[in-house]
Symmetry: C2
Subunit: 559 residues, 2 copies
């Protein structure tokens, strides 16, 4: 019997391609795991076949498979949505995801052996190396059931009130982890070198600026191969300015990094990777677009005071040794300080924040982000559309103009010879045809200089703006938990000292959010200006070139 998989997320296949849409919870029969680049092929219950991202499904065990035939289990994602605060289960869950995505037909690489050491079945149930001290221990004076009940309520109310919380395509789940930090049950000593400061400047609370800014270039990708050329893949060459040592990274490495960053920094929007695409994936143009989008990702990372210093990122940027890579990879995957727990590393101003002020700012941010989300998507879609227009109808319209004049010139040429001045006109008209055909070619070339770079930039913004609702939701969840604790204290179910610690830590979380909001603001102000200027300059150059071409043509008529 063929293996079966269950969809963990919705995926919308691009129409007109071999991609297939799948719905969370849907059971599919696996047909081919050798597609490559993270794609699998399967058949759904309606008998339709197509490709979907391997990371969007999990393999069912034979037992599960036999059950699902009668009645499919409730969608896995919905189950997970109730797991708020159960970090142990979540962590195991994440590990399972990871394990699954490494068995899933992405061609094996030297870094996959992390899993062969343990074996997938063991790993699936392996407890995370850091166990929160008390997630299953109820707070004093609060019955287990009651407490859990409230948390569940919060989680679901919250989910429905925000509405726009979205999953990142490649993250298993963006639910809050690290509740133990908030409830003041996490007590870890963070070494000074890992501490991150939030300070106040004229713009408000900001991440302490980078003391040693650096850049990283993503160079033209190379096609590499292994197993004597049986498998080939694209490797991007990254060179950080601080050491000038080039490392080679594949898309799957970026993808792995991205997952780690999303797990760890739930209050910081992680810049997006290029979208996975199936069509023409070894097409040079696509590879170059990916490179540009990876460069955007890398640039944003470098400029971020927190992300740019993070251990996993530094490991990704600098590791050139296979052994060390594996070790660093394992270490990153066993990181204790995920989600809100990461806040234990933050040093914030002493001043307590006014909740009403925080509420106001987050409310504003929510409105702003909602509006930006639509605008950024509109610009992004427009870039895609304009690229298609330039390379499609605009180009072909110009070429039709050119062909019409060209054939007019040819027709006139059939009557050459008896009027002396005519030959000049004929050749000028033919020339005019040629020029319009050339302008058509310019339309075809042009998006490379304006619409595509603009689109790549707005791909970045789309990802960042799109992550903000999750960030705001994570913060809001913490604030709601704080209010819960306040209520519990009012009902004498929680001690004041513990509440105070909860309040302090909620403030740390709020400080982090405010710093991130300000970071996004100042970054985009500089970045969007440069982006728009560059775009407009390219547009101007383009239309000037058309003017030049036409003026050249016009001169032929006078000569």
């Amino acid at each position: 019997m063929s293996a079966q998989v269950q969809a963990l997320y919705d995926f919308t296949g691009e129409p007109g391609t071999t991609e297939m849409s799948i719905t969370c919870g849907e059971i599919l029969t696996l047909l081919n795991t050798e597609i490559g680049e993270g794609w699998w092929e399967g058949r759904n219950a309606k008998g339709e076949t197509g490709l979907f991202p391997a990371a969007y499904v999990r393999k069912l065990t034979p037992e599960e498979s036999s059950q699902t035939k009668a009645a499919p289990p409730a969608p896995r994602y919905d189950q997970a949505a109730d797991d708020w605060g159960d970090s142990q289960f979540s962590a195991g869950d994440n590990n399972f995801q990871r394990g699954a995505s490494h068995e899933d037909g992405w061609d094996d690489d030297w870094d996959d052996d992390t899993y062969s050491e343990i074996g997938p079945s063991q790993q699936q149930h392996k407890p995370p190396s850091y166990t929160p001290q008390t997630p299953l221990t109820p707070l004093p004076g609060m019955p287990i059931n009651d407490y859990n009940h409230h948390i569940d309520d919060n989680a679901s109310n919250f989910g429905s009130s925000v509405g726009t919380v979205r999953k990142n395509k490649f993250a298993p789940s963006s639910k809050i982890s690290g509740e133990s930090y908030l409830l003041a049950t996490l007590n870890v000593e963070v070494p000074d070198s890992d501490k991150v400061y939030i300070i106040q400047d004229e713009e408000g609370y900001v991440w302490s600026p980078l003391s040693q800014p650096y850049t990283v270039t993503v160079a033209s990708p190379k096609k590499e191969s292994k197993f004597k050329g049986i498998k080939s893949f694209i490797a991007y060459q990254l060179t950080p300015s601080f050491n000038n040592i080039q490392v080679s990274r594949r898309y799957k490495h970026f993808d792995w990094l991205h997952e780690r960053l999303q797990e760890k920094f739930t209050l910081i929007p992680i810049p997006p990777l290029p979208d996975k695409q199936i069509s023409g994936r070894y097409d040079e143009q696509l590879i170059e677009r990916r490179r540009v989008q990876l460069q955007e990702f890398v640039d944003w990372m470098c400029k971020h005071p927190v992300l740019s210093k993070s251990e996993v990122w530094q490991h990704f940027l600098t590791c050139t040794d296979e052994k060390r890579w594996k070790a660093g990879k394992r270490q990153a995957e066993r990181d204790n300080l995920l989600g809100l727990n990461y806040c234990v590393s933050l040093i914030v101003p002493e001043k307590a924040l006014l909740q009403s002020q925080v509420d106001h700012i987050t409310e504003q941010c929510h409105i702003f982000i909602n509006s930006m989300d639509a605008s950024v998507k509109a610009v992004s879609n427009m870039c895609v559309l304009q690229t298609k227009r330039f390379q499609g109808p605009y180009k072909s319209d110009c070429q039709k103009i050119g062909e019409a004049f060209y054939s007019l010139g040819n027709s006139l040429g059939l009557d050459e010879g008896s009027i002396v001045s005519k030959s000049k006109l004929t050749s000028a008209i033919t020339m005019t045809g040629g020029i319009y055909i050339e302008i058509g070619r310019m339309y075809d070339e042009q998006p490379k200089y304006d619409w595509e770079p603009l689109g790549d930039k707005f791909h970045l913004y789309k990802g960042i703006v799109g992550s903000f609702p999750d960030v705001l939701a994570n913060h809001k969840g913490a604030v709601q938990k704080k209010r819960e604790c306040e209520r519990l204290t009012a009902e004498h179910k929680m001690e004041v000292a513990q509440l105070n610690e909860v309040l302090r830590r909620t403030d740390v979380i709020s400080y982090a959010l405010l710093a991130e909001i300000n970071h996004f603001k100042s970054e985009r102000t500089v970045d969007l200006k440069a982006t728009m200027q560059k775009f407009l300059r390219q547009q101007i150059t383009f239309y000037k070139k058309i003017v030049d071409k036409l003026e050249t043509t016009l001169r032929y008529y006078d000569e």
Copy 2:
């Protein structure tokens, strides 16, 4: 019972309008003759209803109607195609056509009473005022049947060999009339003032140039009304430069003129009138386009050494008196010297032409015209297409760009206040949106300056080039008749003296064709150069304006 009509020509209704396609010979039931502007409404056998040009059909008598229900008669046009050389029948036929088109729902005017004097039924059988001397008299030594037989053969061979012979939309038939001239049976004294000279210059044989060139302006049309405002119509104001006296002419007057010119000058392509259009016919834009196309018609007429001097044209340009108009109109309709008979007015060089040379030139012209026909149509279609593109997708694409940037600016504005430099960026982005919306508006406006004038010019060329095959066919028919006479003479069925006169007159016809070919050549050489230069200058201005707009926008980012 409703009246029935029979289609005389094919007409292709424009899709998406109320127009209906009709096929030559098709019987339709008449529903409405009050549509105006030369349109009638009818229902075809399939039950479809729609509008078609009244001039394209003829009303059936009740007797005909009752017959046609059982079996429609053979298409009238096909019958007419065999009438070659039967000038008496053709003339009657033309009169019938004319009578029909004046009863046909074009709103009555003061000039329509020409027909009310006689009444349509009388008029239909009224012999033309000039009766050719011998059309029914066989040439000496040639039996009637035999002669007719040969003529028929020629006519049909000829029709199939040319293949591209086309009907002018508004001309009843462009078949050769005036055979009596060729067969040397027409002997009319033409007054010196009416004589037209063909001379030889460095370009070959040409029409003797105009001694007193003039221009005529077609001024902005006015909406006029009569019958106390019940009927309203558009009148175009024409002012010739030679007298500066303005005359008011409606489209129907142009149409009448055009019919007369086509009857008379079968060796000269008559410039086309604007197409009849039903949609938005009182739309200001359409009226202005018509004016421009009428101006093109008028300009071509004025520049033509023969047409510009013709009596009917002079009458049309100068008559301001109702009585004189009627008289002149009747005179034009009774003109003897139609078709080849017009050649009696021509004075050509003494030198006999070499038939092989004439054949070579006409052959070349045929190839050239065939090619030009396709090219000119392609340019013409392109102008229509580009106009639609500019006013449709190009405009709306720009506006989409504008809206995307504009809404991005608005979104950014939601987050105003805390960063000093941001407001500038926001307003610059909003401004950018506004500029692209403005560029969209420019696209909407632009065709008026480039594509539409180019289209109007190529409408003219389409008409002239499209008339050339008929002109060539008329000439070729004469040459074939000449050969026939040569054969008859060889068989001693025609006298040498008569043949010589036929040869001389065939040469006159050939001289006329050569002069016309050269006239077209020299006219278009000057005209196309100016047209292309004007078009390119407008295109350059347009793209420069875009550059200016974008440069203005770019400066906002730096201020």
